[in-house]
Symmetry: C2
Subunit: 406 residues, 2 copies
């Protein structure tokens, strides 16, 4: 570290906030995805805790959010500290490569080509805050050397819900400031149970939580080489956004010159003409491709991806079973409740996950290991063991035309 | 039969409409008991079908209802054909002996001491209407001879939810118009499963559905002998009610004499001063005792009770399992729905009983043989096999102070 720097001065965090969280239906919906919920009952939503965690590392001004246009209002309401220029609104979902690339391209134009960017999902839960900071610190150091650096989560069970990272040789000699860095041998898709167990027994596999830290220029150079159409579209939109930046700054100057208070008379969100035009022109044709496929996997084959082990408690709360694992029991029978305990009455029932979100009393008699999710307009009942299949239930509802419930 | 008589001219039907139906919570409540519900989804509530069934036998003017004061408005709304003088409102529950005796005592005063009365619960389901009429016909003939006559239901399974009637010798020789009449050997309480099975294998036991037909005078004489305090209190209230009758009739005469239309200016329900005073004085101290204990069992020991076999389909819909047995399946997986089918979506779920009464979508994934009852303010989930224990759930809620849900 040099001077007053904490080692993160050139680091910017991007929070792609997308994905409905279909397996958490009927709590999470297309119109209100899971990152907007306080799934741990701790008073802060998932995107709020994600923002808090990253702002603690690099400061509020170094955190931005990419999300769908329909969620911008909710994000701004939940994150009043986030200024307008740090929200990138997507007219339609174009998957994570476009989301991360657009934020990266704009940040480069604003802060220079040498910055480091990191992408962290809006809906993950991390408990070991200091261990997380240390992992990100080593990831930033490793990224400086040129690696796209992921944080590999300690696999605590043979999960079939996550992709895995196969660890390669140590990079400690090459990067003294990141003693835990290794190469990534390869990324592997969600395995079946037998394969997952085999991975675990080698001790060489970690979960891929989709966290990536890299030099902005490394990412954009790779995209220009491998996905040139996507990269050019992103550049055009980023250029338009900084054109809006300049128009805004000019308006601020003018207001000041006229003796006005620009905070009152000039609003950042009103300067979006260039961006809107560029979005309309380029966004719809952008390839929908996940960051893993477009960047991490191909670069790992070339030895361009590194990994820092993340041994903090982590979960992506994919389904109600995950929610249950993170909630404290409300009684000695291992029942878990999200919402008001006053709304729940259990008799001879154990191991249930109850979401009391409908304002009514939920009475369970002799119900074991079930998920009961009550909301104002929809109720779900399912065994905990079938939590992953809630996605199929939502598909079933979609097929029967219940669009208003999705 | 003589002249235009159908054999029921001197017969009056009493419908005691009491009992919350606790095992049908949260559908049925203290404030809206099960007899007010259309549990079969056929467009008529239980008390409506009971009324229809009895009115078809003895005419609308020969049917009366005894119910709690808080349910009078709902009963009148559901049975607009029922005139005000045919509703006996109870200030507080005093069990079936008082309910039947009061209606009987008033009917005797209005229609003479020789009438036959029959009591039929408001919340039973009977499918074989002609077989029911024939059973009641024979019961009336048997009652004329002086027997308190019950209708014994063919026991189709070794139920532990009903009391049983042990059949005695035939009375056919004594009562030619009631060829199926037998004496009742004795009444037995709800048995355990082994005993119930033993009863069934003898072929001599039938279910006690609490239907009793008897000469009004036989009932009142018995009560005056065995329960004199209760009988005197009932007589005093019945006297007061006929005093109100006379005050009403006098007012009608006066209105007519003054050229008014008494249907517009005189209302039966306004004439209740005598009744109210007598109720206030006598009702609270009346012994709470079931008709079976006060009348049927002691008289059966003296050989005073007869039985007509009832081989019509019958159920008392005590719990959600009973509801399920009477509802058609909505799919090939034996799911049963009470309420709007549009509100129910099942996936890989079988044998469920779903009550859609909350106006929201109920989604069941991998849920088998469960009861799910959704209402505006309370939701119940329980295995079908534990339907009888819903009563315990309600007790649990009562103990936790959720009085507004009972």
């Amino acid at each position: 570290m040099n001077g007053m720097s904490n080692g993160f001065d050139d680091f910017y965090a991007i929070i792609p906030a997308g994905g409905t969280g279909t397996r958490l239906w009927p709590l999470s919906r297309e119109s209100k995805p899971k990152f907007l919920f306080d799934l741990l009952g701790q008073g802060r939503t998932l995107i709020q805790t994600t923002f808090d965690r990253l702002a603690a590392i690099c400061g509020i001004d170094h955190v931005c959010v990419s999300t769908g246009e329909r969620h911008v209002a909710a994000v701004r309401e939940q994150l009043p500290e986030l200024s307008a220029e740090h929200i990138f609104a997507e007219p339609s979902p174009r998957d994570s490569t476009a989301a991360i690339a657009l934020a990266t391209a704009v940040l480069m134009r604003r802060h220079g080509d040498d910055i480091i960017v990191g992408s962290f999902a809006a809906d993950h839960v991390i408990r070991g805050k200091l261990a997380f900071i240390e992992a990100v610190r080593q990831a930033v150091q490793t990224a400086r050397v040129g690696y796209v650096t992921t944080i590999g989560i300690a696999a605590s069970r043979p999960s079939t819900a996550f992709g895995y990272i196969h660890e390669g040789g140590s990079l400690a000699a090459q990067i003294p400031d990141a003693p835990d860095a290794t190469l990534v041998e390869r990324f592997v898709e969600k395995p079946n149970a037998v394969t997952a167990q085999a991975y675990l027994s080698t001790g060489e596999y970690r979960w891929n939580a989709g966290m990536f830290v890299m030099r902005a220029s490394v990412l954009m150079d790779h995209l220009h080489k491998e996905k040139p159409r996507l990269a050019r579209a992103i550049d055009a939109i980023a250029d338009a956004i900084v054109d809006d930046d300049r128009a805004y700054e000019a308006a601020v100057e003018t207001a000041r010159a006229q003796g006005e208070n620009p905070r009152e008379s000039v609003h950042r969100e009103d300067f979006r003409a260039h961006r809107d035009a560029a979005m309309a022109k380029h966004w719809p044709s952008i390839e929908k491709i996940a960051f893993d496929y477009a960047v991490a996997e191909p670069l790992s084959v070339e030895g361009g991806v590194a990994m820092i082990p993340g041994d903090f408690g982590w979960d992506d709360i994919g389904d109600f079973n995950s929610v249950a694992a993170l909630l404290p029991s409300v009684d000695e029978r291992n029942n878990k409740v999200l919402g008001s305990l006053d709304d729940v009455s259990t008799l001879d029932s154990a191991g249930d996950v109850i979401v009391a979100g409908g304002g009514r009393t939920i009475a369970l008699l002799g119900v074991n290991d079930m998920v009961v999710v009550d909301t104002a307009d929809a109720l779900l009942v399912a065994p905990r063991a079938r939590s992953q299949e809630v996605k199929a239930m939502v598909k079933h509802l979609a097929e029967s035309g219940a669009d208003e419930l999705l």
